[in-house]
Amino acid sequence: MKSKIRVVFLKELRETLREKRTIGFLALMVLFYPLLIGFTLHQLIDKSTRTEREGLHLTVIGAAKAPTLVAQLRERNVTVNESGPMTPEAIGELLHGKKIAAVLRLSDDFTDNYQAMRPARIELWFDSSAESGPQRRELDEILQAYSSNIASARLLAHGVSPVTLAPIQLQRYDTGTNASRSAMMIGGLIGFLFFPAFILCMSSAVDSTAGERERRSLEVLMAQPAHSWELVGGKWLASAALALVGVTVVLILGHAILKWLPLEEIGMAWNLGWGGLLLVCLATAPLALLASAMYVAMAMNAKTFKEAQTLVSMVMLLPLIPGMVVSFMDLKTAQWMYLVPMLSNQTLIKELAKSGDIGALPFVLTFLCALVPALLIAAFASWRMKSEKYVLGV
């Protein structure tokens, strides 16, 4: 004879899996998030390494008028394409192609003005909608340097020290590193890897409790020779199973993507091995149990299916709050964080990615801090189903 809890479990699972649309949605959720993380990080890495990889491309119109400038540009690793006269439309067209960062146009009277020591005009054409801000800044610096070199030379020729032109000396120090800038962002991104545990069990938890009540099949079920803990247990585990599979797949997929991306390019590290990931998956299993126990207990007590759905979708967002608070307040990792479900999982994977070895205690705490409340809530739900008040509401 099969155990009753298994009978209920298998029936609920079969019923949920038979609803194609729900399953499609769940699969989409599972695949979408890791791919989104992968894509975002890939873009980030791509952008931050593009300049040094490709260098700066520049088109200069009338380059022959200022050979020194062109030489200086080339010295600073700028690729200069010399070009004949162009109309503004042609320049716009050229910039629109995004192959070059900017166009320099030396005016026709550049040489005359230069020799007469009048300001010689250089036009800088650029497209501000293109993402070449750092490149343009670099170009500005080169032009400034060129200009002040000439000024210094001219002053010297008149017997004035060029130092008079520099009453202050500005030296910039940037202590921000790529690593510290991106660590926050990555922390936020990987925290979401656990969220599917709270999404994937929703529909089945609501459907098997509030749904069953609304479709008027619950009274018959409760009159069967099965204890209420067997009924609640089967429903609970069936919806937890979906969440468990989902969150595990997301973690594995996310891990594979993070391992594959060249994160060191942006000063980040993903030091987690497959063994570590397995442990994280194990420590995360109770999170799925907790999520579905919460939903089952709430949906069971809701008056209607609709109310159950609303309640559950509100509760769904709760587990994100601790992680956000910690991230906003910029708190340092502390032991207590391993005692808050969801936050503990986020902290766990963050610390593992950073250092690799954190000992066994965080795993145990993460495991227990979700498992204990999950069991308590499930016990409450079955006690509740047995109560007379509940029977009357059916």
Binding site: V220, M222, A223, Q224, P225
Partner: protein, 243 residues
């Protein structure tokens, strides 16, 4: 045999059952008559141990549903006025589920599903998902579920509602077979025709009290009214609430 003695049940200020006493014999079909709101649902729920009585004694085949609800339920087929099915399961899967919940499995369960399906004439819907079933088809599936585990006691709340002529006949055949097997059947109904044709014994309850118990003929004799429906109205004491 189902014996109920002076059972009372109140919800707050409302006294749903104020003293119900009757005995339903094995090998008999006992009709449970009562206007809507007389306490039939509460009585049936108390019999399967979903509700706890405030007072009185209940014995179902010698077992008190409050002391050992599982033993009582294993021996009861319960057809309520709620018979929602699981739309994404086929009839066979539905029956499998409840069969397994009642401790059946494997070949025995398959054989029994075949038997019940033959009895109720529902071969054509056995492999179909129950979504979009007609009222009659739903009742048939629910009835099949009720009979599946060969319970010795049957509590049926309006089993013939929504059935067409053929299905009503099939139901009647099934009930006669159960009686011949020596089962104890309690059937709540509003159809007097059915009571006269099928039932040896009638329990009339009104406002949570047993008003009378006896064969249809006895009830007519006692009230001095030839027509059972008129006798029932006279016993209940009002013309209100007869469906």
């Amino acid at each position: 045999m189902i014996e109920v003695h002076d059972v009372r049940k109140g919800f707050g200020a409302v006294q749903a059952l104020g003293g119900v006493t009757f005995t339903a014999q094995d090998g008999q079909i006992t009709a449970l008559l009562g206007p809507n709101g007389a306490g039939k649902t509460t009585l049936l729920r108390t019999l399967v141990g979903l509700l706890r009585r405030d007072h009185g004694t209940i014995s179902i085949g010698g077992v008190d549903p409050e002391k050992d609800p599982m033993a009582v339920r294993r021996n009861i087929g319960f057809l309520t006025d709620q018979f929602g099915l699981y739309e994404r399961l086929t009839t066979r899967e539905y029956l499998n589920y409840f069969g397994e919940l009642n401790g059946m499995d494997g070949g025995a369960l398959r054989t029994r599903i075949g038997e019940v399906s033959d009895l109720l004439g529902m071969d054509d819907i056995l492999e179909r998902q129950t979504k979009g079933f007609s009222q009659g088809q739903r009742i048939k599936v629910a009835l099949a579920r009720t009979l599946l585990h060969r319970p010795r006691h049957l509590l049926l709340d309006e089993p013939s509602r929504g059935l067409d002529v053929m299905s009503t006949r099939a139901l009647r055949t099934a009930l006669n077979a159960l009686r011949a097997d020596g089962c104890c059947v309690i059937m709540a109904t509003h159809v007097m025709q059915e009571v006269i044709h099928l039932c040896e014994d009638v329990i009339v309850i009104a406002k949570g009290h047993t008003v009378a118990q006896g064969s249809p003929q006895e009830l007519c004799r006692r009230t001095g009214i030839a027509d059972l429906e008129d006798a029932f109205v006279s016993l209940v004491g009002t013309e209100e609430g007869i469906a």
